[in-house]
């Protein structure tokens, strides 16, 4: 069955084995061929037609390279060249085209018959193998990728992870597991689970059930369970969740995972919450007891007018206390995440103290005496928050001075801070209570102090506020009957905090921030003064080039500030007035005629932009207009 080849081309030995050769050639399921270095097939066995679907004639009509996949042609040419040089080829793979347009992978073993210019080649269809290999490789790659991803996940996740393999040996112990337990990774890896209990024992608080948990762990647990332990150094609560690991294909258990979770903070939070709820309910029950009790008594029994009056007054007092408690409790809740939205800026303490004293009111039995140094620097403060602290401290000083006595307010500069102190001559504080005083709901355990109404929340709020300012708050007392001195510190305003192009005099922090932002867009820096007194000090220090002024201010008015400004700098400094104050035509005109005033605007949403436009215009050098 030799086809398409001239017998004269055959060498003698081949010719000799003629019939046998022919039989083998046509019987082979492998693809056998003889090809010439000229690039054409010379002879093909039937396996070719069966594999590729082309007839022998079709295959031999074109150079065999035509049937090779374009991507494999270069490699095929190289192999043919090597064969021409006399080198055998073993297991070379390329793709051949089939009649249906698909390609099949063939693996070749070929030898050259140099003198005849022929190649004898045996090819085998390995398409299935190649596909299987590709699938396997992909699976391996994706397994490696998944493993790498999982390892990264295990190490990056914020919980301790311990993997125990089928051999009951620790196969993975992540960084967090080390941090939580104090057991180094090197020491843990490779440990048999039977020894895990011993590994933990010196590092955790002894606990009778712990041993049984670790025994369970050592027997390759088949069900998940959870236990908690206390790690000693540093002390923390760790929750351990043990979960068996099984193959999804139902191939049985391959190990287990221990997840270690730091629950210290959660436990503390729980405890703090329980304490708070217990305290609040306790605090609420006491005034309620008076209200309920006296109401029942008054409804069911006869009392003298004097008694009835006393009971009703007590009820009123306790009812107010209940209201105060609820308000303070809500205040404290608002403050829990730190004093929110602190609007910090330079502030004049003198005016803040004066405002707090005014709010506290007159009481001839406990007069408030303010004595401040002349050159008190500006501090960085949220004026409303600091005012709250001052009022709370003054009201405490009064409350705890039932026998009267002057209350002194002082301030002194210490380094980069100003310390404000409020000294009373009241009932004082026992030494053991000094440190607990700023804790919420703490009230000094003393009959006298208990006579004073209060909820024990004011000082806790004050501490939050001063902490948020980066200051310190504290108390000193010689003991019971010795009076108390409360103090807090605030940072002084640095030079940087006191310099800028434009001075904003505005008590509404939100609007001041808006003005700051609009000025920044125009490339102008600014300093914010929450009141006229702060502005008076700043104007002397900061070399401002312009002023944006509100008229309604907590202390001295904007008009007063403007008058002083005119007296000191005349009309040099452009001023934009932005106010919510209702001005009649005469007032507006008078303001407009004030030297330096470039605009008088009503405060509304677009007013900040408008005012800044006027200021920017006024500050543009004259030359630019020409």
């Amino acid at each position: 069955m030799l086809r398409g080849i001239d017998r004269s081309d055959m060498n003698p030995s081949m010719m000799n084995g003629g019939a046998m050769y022919e039989s083998f050639f046509s019987l082979s399921v492998d693809m056998l061929c003889v090809a010439g270095f000229d690039g054409f097939f010379k002879q093909l066995n039937p396996a070719w037609a069966q594999t590729l679907g082309f007839t022998d004639a079709e295959l031999m009509a074109r150079p065999f390279l035509d049937f090779v996949h374009p991507d494999d042609r270069l490699a095929t040419i190289a192999v043919v060249e090597n064969l021409a040089k006399g080198t055998n080829t073993v297991n070379f793979r390329n793709r051949y085209e089939c009649r249906d347009g698909t390609y099949r992978w063939l693996a070749w073993t070929a030898i050259p018959a140099g003198s005849a210019g022929l190649i004898y080649a045996v090819g085998r269809d390995v398409t299935q193998e190649v596909r299987a290999e590709a699938v396997l490789k992909e699976a391996n790659d994706s397994a490696a990728t998944r493993l790498a991803l999982l390892t990264a996940l295990i190490d990056a996740i914020g919980v301790g992870v311990v993997l125990v393999d089928r051999e009951q040996v620790v196969a993975h112990w992540n960084q967090e597991a080390s941090r939580l337990t104090g057991i180094p990774i090197e020491q843990a890896l490779g440990q048999p689970t039977g020894l895990l209990g011993e590994l933990f024992a010196p590092r955790v608080e002894d606990n009778p059930s712990l041993q049984s948990h670790f025994e369970r762990v050592s027997r390759l647990p088949a069900e998940s369970f959870r236990f908690a332990m206390t790690v000693l150094e540093p002390r923390r609560e760790v929750e351990v969740t043990v979960s068996p690991a099984a193959l999804t294909s139902g191939g049985g258990q391959v190990g287990f995972v221990m997840v270690l979770h730091d629950i210290t903070a959660a436990k503390e939070l729980d405890r703090a919450k329980d304490d708070l709820i217990a305290t609040v309910s306790h605090e609420l029950r006491t005034p309620l007891a008076s209200l309920v009790g006296f109401t029942e008594l008054l409804l069911t029994r006869e009392f003298s007018d004097a008694q009835r009056k006393q009971y009703l007054e007590t009820m009123l007092h306790e009812g107010r206390r209940l209201t105060e408690l609820i308000n303070d409790f809500l205040d404290l809740q608002r403050m829990e995440g730190g004093y929110k939205r602190l609007d910090l800026g330079p502030a004049d303490l003198r005016t803040l103290i004066a405002r707090a004293v005014t709010t506290a009111g007159d009481d001839p039995r406990t007069p408030i005496e303010v004595d401040l140094p002349k050159d008190l620097p500006l501090v960085i403060a949220d004026t409303n928050a600091i005012l709250q602290v001052l009022i709370s401290l003054l009201s405490n000083a009064r409350k705890y001075s039932p026998g009267g006595g002057a209350i002194r307010v002082n301030a002194q500069v210490t380094g980069e801070a100003v310390e404000v102190s409020i000294q009373d001559h009241g009932i004082g504080i026992p030494p053991e209570a000094l440190t607990k005083l700023f804790t919420k709901f703490y009230r000094v355990a003393n009959g006298d102090r208990r006579l004073v109404s209060g909820t024990g929340v004011g000082l806790a709020i004050s501490r939050r506020i001063i902490d948020a300012h980066g200051g310190r708050i504290g108390v000193e007392s010689g003991g019971l009957g010795q009076g108390s001195r409360f103090y807090f510190t605030l940072r002084t305003a640095s030079h940087g905090a006191r310099s800028g192009d434009v001075l904003i005099v505005e008590d509404d922090a939100g609007f001041a921030r808006l003005l700051e932002a609009e000025l920044a867009i125009k490339g102008l820096s600014s300093v914010w003064a929450p009141d006229a007194e702060t502005a008076d000090q700043l104007i002397g220090q900061m070399a401002a080039r312009a002023v944006i002024l509100d008229l309604l201010l907590p202390g001295a008015s904007g008009e007063d500030f403007l008058a002083r400004l005119r007296a000191s700098v005349g009309g040099e400094l452009p001023v934009a007035v932005v106010t919510i104050k209702e001005l009649d035509a005469t007032e507006t005109l008078a303001l407009r005629r004030t030297a330096g005033v470039v605009a008088v605007l009503k405060k509304h949403s677009g007013a900040a932009k408008e005012a800044v436009a006027f200021i920017a215009e006024a500050l543009t050098p004259r030359e630019a207009h020409q």
């Binding site: 217990a278 309910s281 306790h282 605090e283 029950r285 006491t286 005034p287 309620l288 007891a289 008076s290 209200l291 309920v292 009790g293 006296f294 029942e296 008594l297 069911t300 009392f303 008694q307 006393q310 009971y311 007590t314 007092h317 306790e318 000094v444 355990a445 003393n446 009959g447 208990r450 006579l451």
Partner: protein, 132 residues
């Protein structure tokens, strides 16, 4: 039941009220009245204990949470003092925690009331405690 006709200055029993809240002392005092009892008030635990030892009262109405000695401290002290075997104790607590109540009863309190309480309830507990 209480009977005003049998009460006289000579036979009046002494009751110590110990509570750090002045309004509560006024309330308890008003509830039990001064016709039948000689009422002594204490505004903290330490004062309460010295008054109890001084007066050897028939009954003590004790707030549990007080500065100084707590109500429970005083209750235990009463129970271990041979001079005070006749003294009855009613606890007043602002805590509704069962554990606190149990601790009080275990320590030998005759009765307890949780704030807020009804004055009528206080009177009936008082009558029970004094076996009137």
């Amino acid at each position: 039941m209480r009977n005003n006709s049998t009460a006289s200055a000579r036979t009046r029993r002494t009751v110590v009220i110990a509570d750090d809240e002045p309004s509560l002392r006024i309330l308890v005092h008003a509830t039990i009245g001064t016709d039948d009892y000689n009422v002594v008030e204490a505004c903290d635990g330490d004062e309460a204990w010295s008054l109890i030892r001084e007066h050897r009262p028939s009954l003590v109405i004790l707030d549990v949470q007080m500065p100084g000695r707590t109500g429970l401290d005083i209750l235990r002290a009463i129970k271990s003092d041979p001079n005070l075997t006749a003294t009855r104790v009613i606890l007043l607590t602002a805590s509704a925690q069962e554990a606190d109540i149990r601790a009080g009863l275990v320590a030998g309190a005759n009765s307890y009331l949780t704030k807020p309480f009804s004055p009528r309830d206080l009177l009936s507990r008082l009558d029970e405690a004094l076996e009137l």
